[in-house]
Point group: C2
Chain length 197, copies 2
Amino acid sequence: MRHVGALIFPKFELLDLFGPLQMLGMLPEEFRLSLVSAHGRLVSSNQGPTAQADRAIGEDGDYDILLIPGGMGTRTEVGNARLIAWLGETTGHCEIVASVCTGAALLARAGMLDGRRATTNKFAFDWVVSQGPNVHWQRRARWVEDGKYFTSSGVSAGIDMSLALIARLHGRSVARDVASWSEYRWNEDPDDDPFAL
Amino acid sequence: MRHVGALIFPKFELLDLFGPLQMLGMLPEEFRLSLVSAHGRLVSSNQGPTAQADRAIGEDGDYDILLIPGGMGTRTEVGNARLIAWLGETTGHCEIVASVCTGAALLARAGMLDGRRATTNKFAFDWVVSQGPNVHWQRRARWVEDGKYFTSSGVSAGIDMSLALIARLHGRSVARDVASWSEYRWNEDPDDDPFAL
């Protein structure tokens, strides 16, 4: 059983977070999900709906996997020194770290992607690049795996990435089962990116 | 501006709810989103994460669109007479009513799908059928539109359905834009159902 810490912050993008959590949550014997926040208990998404954090970033979470969504709120959070410091420390202890969309900007700001291949969403690409000039940013990629770091392009791409994460830990057949249970057409090829500009 | 009331209940399915809300929420000038609950403010999903209701079912919501997710919790909610009565009354006033997955069981139980074509998810199909014997259930359908009722098959199919809903109200071009912004490959054909058993 792995413990997944999923970061929430004001104006996080709904599907960036809940797409991957749906997929991981379909294997409740394998993954335990916690929402983690630096901003108190109730955190509103970019689309309005509000989620409740299970933990604060100061509390010991002992996460095996960290999931970092994107959204407009990342524009503010790149300047949140306490959050960025926590990310740097926590990702060091994790088995897997995964970001969706502009969530990669937070990892980049923490320096965790330096020297690595990574991607992010198409509509904020140049801004994210500016947060991590020493990252090997990939403009054409549904998602990128580099060691323990998984980064996906925008919003829905996080679902494909989360299935790849399941495939790495539990095999491709289990990942395909999860996709099928949720009636999701998994794009299994990380290089098949129809949204590349 | 249309007001979307999205029902939450204990053990709702995360992506059933937040997939469609992501798509609608990408048009903030067109759709205002509220989470509605019969169970108080904080409601935990089937996967664990907890959402906060903006309103209770007794409060006047004046919804133009009602969105009903599925999930294990529907097994309990079909017996919630107060919720079913509210659904029957409220759907009567709505311009559009949409369900995802086993959310159709709640609409069926309220009698709102009687004589109509509808669908639901593959892995609970027979149970949902038992909740509405006078519904024309479609076993092969990504989603079904019958008048103001949109019903989708399991989990991820709700995203395709929500884009069809946007297409009906704002045109196919706008729906394609929303899909593109969220880097989502929209399955535009409601009859293309690779998960039909």
